[in-house]
């Protein structure tokens, strides 16, 4: 045995034992990690007492940990804008921006679920309004109601009843809505439309007629980027809405509309036909790459929620000139809605700070700082129109006057379990286009979700 290895081992052993000894008394070794992670003005005196869910601020640190999947682009900018407002008001509170990127929030949701499961909630987190909030978190008794915030701040008068309804369960309101997005928007390249003598189609017939013209002209009619499969679900929900109308569509999620009906068959046929007009490499692209195809003129249209407006905005494009927008075929007069909300989980370690944060998030000031940058509209009826661009102003008008339906792909219409099943169905449908099998699977998913009878 050589001396060299003796020394190596000894050194390694000593090193390790020192580390163990340093860690010595319980989980304080985390403290340095946290210090490095956040931009700290005041170093927290103690490590996070993560295991002590019952003792708010027991760690002595004056923090606010906000959890979201807004890591980049307009979303992150919007969140930062709100942070700035918060910092101005509460300079002593250190913000810990806990974000998890990727998969349109699906990674983040997995992380959040495990954190909540292990009794380690953040102070507040981003969650979609509707069934994602209620079925996943409220029913599982992981949330605190925030009705008192609505009462104290007079929010009951400025938030539309429809929004409050989907945040309510058992007579309480469970989350603070910070924005409204519209999902049923068709974005198009006006120059391409003009060159082919087209106007924005309003019905499926017009859509397919335009698509034929475009295809003949060598332009991809519809750009799709579904490498995150929710983009297919997203397209499907707009087709379902177009084929069934607002009431029929809403009924799908309450059991009142039959999933085996010919109207649903018709929607699936329409969707399958649309796939004939999309770019071949759609499975390799993300939604923003599909939007880029429209910008570049390689494709004429894409159907995406209005966060695409934020994307176009970040490219320096002007709405109405560089890109056009219209409701998706057959859905004029309906506003397919989704909403991001901020929540108050049970056992939030810094509950007081969370309440300050939520108060700001629900205020006009907070929302008008956040939304114009994020590329969404405020749910409040009293927001300052002049801060918003032309598209967002049109969205405000539509939101105020249209019928409102909940988005499936973004958690408003159905439980997360149902949405995951739907995504799985869509990933197969996009490939095999088997309408009968897909319809049967969709009907089955409704049964599994406990909404439709056997």
């Amino acid at each position: 045995m050589s001396r060299k290895y003796f020394w190596l081992t000894t050194i390694l052993l000593v090193l390790a034992l020192t580390l163990v000894a340093c860690g010595g008394t319980a989980p304080t070794t985390e403290a340095p990690a946290e210090e490095e992670a956040a931009t700290v003005e005041e170093a927290p005196a103690e490590g996070e007492a993560t295991e002590e869910e019952a003792a708010p601020a027991a760690d002595g640190a004056n923090q606010l940990e906000f959890f979201s999947w807004w890591t980049a682009g307009g979303e992150a900018d919007g969140l930062n804008a709100m942070y700035e407002v918060f910092k101005k008001e509460y300079p002593d509170i250190e913000i810990v921006n806990a974000t998890v990127s990727g998969g349109a929030g699906s990674n983040a949701k997995a992380v959040l679920a495990t954190r909540m499961q292990s009794g380690d909630p953040p102070d507040s987190f981003q969650v979609h309004a509707g069934h994602e909030l209620i079925d996943t978190w409220v029913v599982a008794d992981k949330m605190e109601p925030v009705t008192f915030l609505f009462e104290e701040n007079g929010w009951l008068d400025v938030y539309p009843q429809g929004v409050i309804d989907i945040l309510s369960y058992n007579g309480e309101i469970w989350s603070v809505p910070v924005n409204i997005h519209r999902s049923n928007v068709m974005w198009y390249n006006p120059a391409v439309f003009e060159a082919n003598g087209l106007t924005a189609p309003t019905t499926f017939e017009e859509f397919f007629a335009a698509a034929d013209t475009l295809k003949a002209a060598g332009v991809t009619p519809l750009a799709l980027g579904d490498n995150g499969i929710w983009a297919s679900t997203h397209l499907m929900e707009t087709v379902l809405l177009g084929a069934l109308g607002a009431d029929g569509y809403r009924g799908l999620w309450t059991g009142e509309t039959d999933w085996n009906s010919p109207e649903v068959t018709n929607a699936l046929d329409t969707f399958a036909k649309m796939l004939d007009y999309v770019n071949e490499d759609h499975a390799a692209l993300s939604w923003d790459q599909a939007a880029q195809m429209v910008v570049d003129g390689d494709a004429a249209m894409t159907i995406m929620g209005d966060w695409a407006d934020g994307y176009f905005f970040s490219l320096g494009l002007t709405p109405g000139e560089d890109y056009g927008f219209a409701p998706t075929p057959n859905t004029d007069g309906t506003f397919m809605m989704l909403s991001d909300t901020f929540s108050l989980p049970k056992g939030a370690p810094h509950r007081d700070n969370a309440i300050k944060w939520l108060t700001l998030a629900g205020s006009r000031e907070g929302q008008d700082a956040f939304n114009p940058v994020k590329g969404s509209i405020s749910p409040r009826s009293d927001s300052d129109r002049s801060l918003y661009n032309a598209y967002l102003q049109s969205a405000m008008d539509a939101f105020a006057s249209n019928e409102i339906t909940p988005s499936l792909a973004h958690g408003a219409a159905a439980s997360e379990g149902w949405v995951t099943a739907f995504n799985d169905i869509m990933t197969l449908f996009v490939t095999n286009r088997d309408v009968a099998a897909t319809q049967a699977a969709m009907a089955q998913a409704c049964v599994d979700a406990g909404i439709c009878g056997q």
């Binding site: 045995m1 290895y5 003796f6 190596l8 081992t9 390694l12 052993l13 090193l15 390790a16 034992l17 580390l19 163990v20 860690g23 319980a26 989980p27 070794t29 985390e30 340095p32 990690a33 946290e34 490095e36 992670a37 956040a38 931009t39 993560t50 295991e51 807004w70 890591t71 980049a72 682009g73 992150a76 810990v96 806990a98 974000t99 998890v100 990127s101 990727g102 998969g103 990674n107 992380v111 959040l112 495990t114 954190r115 499961q117 292990s118 009794g119 380690d120 993300s286 923003d288």
Partner: protein, 284 residues
């Protein structure tokens, strides 16, 4: 030895070099992309080309992040990986050494069966213990903490460390032990004066093996450590590569940072690394 051209020898070298080049393609990709600027990686026509110069921008970005794009730096995660890997490695090596000693020199009735039952633990898909594990960890106050993950690695490291030490100690001749017994050494005396000093190379093998494995592990880390600031580098790297904005130069630099510690260990102590590898196939 002849210096004349020998086609068979040439074929051997040709194949070896060819495979070596193929094996090095990912290394080329890592190095060339990580030395590029963001503008350079955006230029897809030159994505396989060499960088215009040695640019360390991407390493800086990978190390300390790009806050305006919401991208976190990997430096804290690298520190976490060390804080996780070193204690877990040492603790599991010590445990394994003691177990190996007992199972090779103090066999009792049923000890082989117990050993076999222990070994099964290193082959199971960890998915089959994941949910009970997270529940248990949080109920004992270790959920979401680095210490919880250390405990997990120590426990699930027991089979392999025990195996390596048991096979290693089995080669120590019983006569040596008998001799020291005559000198009055007991259970611990034998361990301290004979087995432990003899087993230093064994420790090197086990430490290298566990270090590499724990450093590279992903599933436990991603399930148990949810806070981005606590996650080891493998998880942080995966989050970086899964994000919408693909800063490839930064991701590649991050991949290099994540790979370097284990690569250094491998290059310096490759011989022991291979021994650990081979020990993984049960029969040492």
């Amino acid at each position: 030895m002849t210096t004349r051209f020998n086609p068979a020898r040439f074929a051997v070298y040709f194949l070896l070099v060819l495979f070596a080049l193929i094996f090095l393609i990912p290394v080329y990709v890592l190095l060339s992309s990580s030395f590029k600027t963001f503008a350079e990686v955006q230029d897809l026509s030159n994505m396989w080309g060499l960088p215009q110069g040695i640019n360390l921008e991407s390493f800086k970005a990978a190390w300390s992040g790009i806050p305006e794009k919401g991208l976190r730096g990997l430096a804290p995660n690298l520190a976490n990986s060390f804080k996780l890997t070193i204690p877990a490695t040492i603790l599991s090596a010590l445990l394994g050494s003691m177990n190996g000693y007992v199972l090779s020199k103090w066999k009792f009735r049923g000890s082989d069966v117990i050993f076999m039952l222990m070994l099964f633990g290193m082959f199971i898909p960890y998915q089959s213990v994941l949910v009970p594990l997270t529940i248990t960890l949080s109920s004992i106050g270790l959920g979401g903490t680095l210490w919880g993950l250390i405990l997990v690695h120590v426990i699930y490291g027991i089979p392999i460390t025990t195996l390596i030490f048991r096979n290693y100690y089995a080669e120590v001749p019983n006569e040596m032990i008998e001799a020291s017994r005559i000198d009055g050494a007991g259970f611990f005396g034998i361990y301290r004066h004979i087995m432990f000093p003899l087993s230093l190379p064994g420790f090197v093998v086990v430490i290298i093996w566990q270090f590499t494995n724990i450093w590279n592990e992903f599933l436990f880390a991603v399930t148990i450590l949810q806070k981005p600031e606590l996650q080891p580098i493998t998880v942080a790297l995966r989050n970086l590569s899964g994000s919408q904005i693909q800063e490839w130069n930064m991701i590649m630099a991050g991949a290099i940072i994540a790979a370097i510690p284990t690569l250094i260990v491998y290059i310096i102590m490759g011989r022991y690394f291979i021994r650990g590898l081979l020990a993984g196939s049960v029969k040492g």
